[in-house]
């Protein structure tokens, strides 16, 4: 359920839609099926299935005053429109869903100012129209994170169809690389990303905007090859089945690894820790993780990865020669929960 691209199919959503549909059709005799489907954000098939139900509905089954709505597959007619079809007030959940989303979008750095203004105006009108129902929307909020300047440049490059030059930080290698990319679209899922065709690797790549150290819009036109856009409702970075496997064992203090790294399995260990199996195209990139975990976890395999973390730690320690060891140090308390 959660995470899938969502299309209302349940009875409540369909009822809600049909109530709006009768109001809409009343004002538009002979409306075209394709126009109505587009206005309601549904497929023509979904609309036709609504049109199959409506003639079975009315203010009284016995009295025979059913809605006389029919279609020839192209246009829709309602032969006995009545005044039951008035625009309905916005429900609390509806107001919450739309207001919270609109507030979140309006905070996106780099959103065009005219769009932001339109959104804020629409929001104010919606709040006024929803009245009390708008109240509960303060109980949900969403903040998108992204880098304002970079965002604006990427957005402009996409609309002007121009190539971008970026200096991009790769945490796996702790290095900055220069690339030319043909941007395709911006995606915000927690962080904001640009999906692009990378001219250096001649492949589709996703770049996190807060890792773009420098950006320039080039004069060359952007010409990404026709590629099928992926469904981004799942994680943005999906490891491939042929990627090498890494096994990490963590204690209770390292359980966060399972929250941050997409993994194949996370099995409970008797001490309250986890044995996590994940795949990555480049296991060496996980040296950072091994170093970060410290006494909260260790790399079980591949052994070369565990070795490289040990070597890095010893090399780092050499710079502290003469520093007295201290006992275990927990750092400031974490007020989690």
């Amino acid at each position: 359920m959660a995470g899938k691209p969502v299309r209302p199919v349940n009875a409540i959503d369909q009822t809600r839609r049909m109530l709006s549909l009768v109001t809409y059709l009343k004002e538009r005799p002979g409306a075209r099926v394709e126009d109505v489907a587009r206005a309601f954000g549904i497929t023509e098939d979904e609309l036709v299935s609504d049109l199959d139900v409506l003639p079975m509905c009315g203010t009284s089954f016995r009295g025979g005053d059913l809605l006389d709505i029919d279609t020839d597959g192209e246009r829709i007619w309602w032969h006995n429109p009545d005044d039951v079809a008035e625009p309905l007030r916005i429900a609390a959940d509806e107001a919450t869903a739309l207001l919270v989303a609109a507030r979140a979008v309006s905070t996106l750095p780099g959103l065009r100012e005219s769009d932001r203004q339109a959104l804020l105006r629409a929001n104010a009108k919606l709040e006024a129209a929803a009245g009390e129902a708008a109240g509960a929307s303060s109980r949900l909020s969403v903040t998108f994170e992204s880098e304002g300047g970079v965002f604006a440049d990427v957005d402009r490059a996409i609309s002007e169809r121009r190539r971008l030059w970026i200096r991009y930080y790769s945490p796996a290698r702790d290095e900055l690389t220069e690339r030319e990319i043909d941007p395709i679209r911006l995606v915000s899922v927690g962080h904001t990303y640009v999906e692009a065709w990378c001219r250096r690797s001649e492949a589709r790549r996703t770049f996190r905007l807060d890792r773009v150290a420098e950006i320039r819009i080039l004069d060359e036109p952007s010409a990404p090859p026709e590629i099928e856009l992926r469904d981004l409702s799942e994680a943005l970075v999906q490891p491939a089945a042929e990627d090498p496997e890494v096994v990490v064992e963590v204690g209770p203090g390292g359980r966060w690894v399972a929250e941050y790294y997409p993994h194949d399995s996370a099995d409970e260990l008797p001490d309250g820790g986890l044995r996590i199996t994940l795949r990555t195209p480049d296991p060496a990139s996980l040296r950072r993780l091994a170093l970060r975990l410290g006494r909260d976890g260790r790399i079980v395999s591949p052994p070369e990865l565990a070795d490289s973390a040990r070597r890095a730690a010893r090399e780092a320690l050499a710079a502290y020669d003469g520093v007295e060891a201290q006992g275990p140090h927990g750092g400031p308390a974490v007020h989690d929960g």
Partner: protein, 317 residues
Amino acid sequence: MAIAKAERLMNLALCLLGTRRPLSKRELRESIEAYLEAGSDDSFSRMFERDKDDLRELGLVIETVENLDGEMGYLARRDSNRLPPVTLDAEEAAALGLAAKVWQQARLAGAASGALQKLRAAGMPEDVDPYEAHGALEPRIPVHEVAFEPLMLACRDRRPVVFDYRKATAAHPEPRHVEPWALECWRGHWYLAGWDRDRGAERVFRLSRITGKVRSRSGQFTAEVPDVVTVRETVASWAGESADRSALIRLRSGSGYPLRAKATAVRELGDGWDELEIPYGHGLDAWLVEFGPDVVVLEPAELRADVVDRLRAVAKG
């Protein structure tokens, strides 16, 4: 074949909206085919109660009125159900169209498109494609946590809940009794702020650490709900972003870009190393260790000791 639920709900809605006087359960049963076929009185009654709740869920205001004979009647008055006049121009309509697409959660996605459909039915302009109007931006609000929906409803209805929660560093979950105030999504994760009844204090919970089901508890909130709930600040301090001190480190030239981006001062030492001043908050030690031999902490001594300690643990490993 049983009559589809949507058809039954639609008929009930139309009957309640169409009537000028309250209709009794009996009258409604006689008017709606699905209720005639419902079988026993009991199963009809249960079905009717559920249907009324469902219609209220999608925004219908249904009044319950007792008539002179003491019989209950129901109606949905036009004036309490009518959308007040709202005029949106094409740009505003496109902006809302974009906003309605961001939810990746079935209930909220359904509700957002429901709101949009009501506005369309009320005459909102529809000829602008929101994607065209807004360029290539595709914001998405991810909801992967199963605890989200029950907590959203509990926040909305101000219902106390209980759930099992495993703190970041705890081996085992323990039950927490909470009066849920607000949910906030930050950096792609959802957090709950509320009153922890056992601890008698405000607490913030990360939804992904809730194990098992969220169960509702009867009764009211006991603590006052603050006007402003600040989930973000609490979470930011977990993430070490509320730094109030600063640290001095040596960083190998050309490496550690994110540290440089955060630095308040950078000095080139000329020997292949730079000296950086960076904000020092919770979690900095763990972050610095990630850079291995490319970072040396100079001060404060406490941070230096923490980093050495962590490095020793890995070196021994």
